[in-house]
Symmetry: C2
Subunit: 197 residues, 2 copies
DNA sequence: TTTTTGTTAGACAAAATTGTTAAAATAAAA
DNA sequence: TTTTATTTTAACAATTTTGTCTAACAAAAA
């Protein structure tokens, strides 16, 4: 029973991730995914049995990746501000590569989502929130419910990238100029969240 | 040629809006919409000819509504901070009622979106951005590219509501508690965006 | 009342999409 | 080289969803 493992299975998953999470084709059909991967549509069923299971597989994989990296950041042995800068860098990089992943999560939350959300670890988040509360006492960040601090952070990180096409129109800037704006975000966000002493 | 106008057409549109933009059933079928509206599916085709045209109609109507209200806020004869507080109030109210509308825009941007985005008025936004630039000179808000200011504003407003189901899980709070958090947002956002002198 | 116009309903057709089956191709192991 | 298990393909079937057609129904106008 030697599995040949030609890499087709992973290739299909990677292609599906690109289509769905990077290019935003959230309703891509099995045919479209197969075509993009350069395989016969039946291969999708051979490896994943059904479209739903393929989707579930790539989503789980992507969430695993992301939440693991974030958890590493959050539990790292670092001062709070440096830690936050690191989270920003990691998350921004992810959002630039896969801007539609969160949107997918939200739109599919009623079907796939509910199950997958349940196994999100809230431990690392909790300890990060406690550190934030400490900082508020120290006065390095504004006093508020720690949940607000985290919502602010993720909002400022995610939303501009989710809405990129809209904002490019609204601000009448080119894709290149918008990229520059995005590159400035890390600094802007830190300045906004932390009191400059 | 007296149109009976039993209100069915608007009723179908309102139901579709509720399903898609409020409840987040972004792939609702014509059958589901018809059922929810309590009409025969044929009525949808009678009034709108096709599913696509129904969707286009409700989306255009919703965007018109929102952008008109925002434009009114942005061009109102008010000091900048009061104006911004007003934008926050209007936009928050809208996001609470129709949290999925923006998500829909993003996911459908490749099909319907592109056409509809083109007729977004950038005039009022431009003048609001100029006012923001003035405030930066005055020093009431942090100096940055004005686009960042607007992105910050909309990010802080929209994202927590888009991600509501996720955050409730992450913070382990009840729906009621989360509502309270949302009610605090307006104040939090103003505090974050404006330097407290 | 009859006619006209507008609205609703049921049955049917077409299209798009997913899923299944069986056979051919491929590559490693015996 | 033959065997064996795995991978890929083509043809077909089932399902879901959308769209059309025709007839029934309701209400205002002639």
């Amino acid at each position: 029973m030697p599995l040949k493992n030609t890499g087709t299975e992973q290739h299909i998953k990677d292609t599906a991730k690109r289509l769905l999470f990077a290019e935003g084709k959230l309703h891509a059909t099995t045919q479209e995914i197969a075509d993009a991967a350069g395989v016969n549509r039946t291969a999708l069923h051979y490896y994943f049995r059904s479209r739903d299971q393929l989707i579930a597989a790539i989503f789980q994989e992507a969430m695993q990746d992301l939440s693991q990296r974030l958890n590493e950041c959050m539990t790292a042995d670092q001062p709070f501000k440096a830690k936050t800068e690191n989270i920003i860098a990691v998350f921004l990089r992810h959002m630039i590569a896969f801007p539609y992943q969160e949107t997918f999560l939200v739109t599919e939350i009623n079907t796939l989502g509910k199950k997958l959300i349940t196994n999100i670890q809230s431990g690392p988040v909790k300890s990060y929130l406690e550190e934030a509360a400490d900082e508020m006492k120290k006065g390095t960040i504004e006093k508020m419910h720690p949940a607000h601090f985290l919502m602010n952070l993720f909002s400022l990180l995610s939303y501009p990238l989710i809405m990129a096409p809209l904002y490019q129109k609204l601000f009448q800037v080119s894709g290149k100029d918008f990229k520059e704006l995005v590159n400035e975000r890390a600094k802007i966000i830190i300045n906004l969240l932390f009191k400059n002493q």
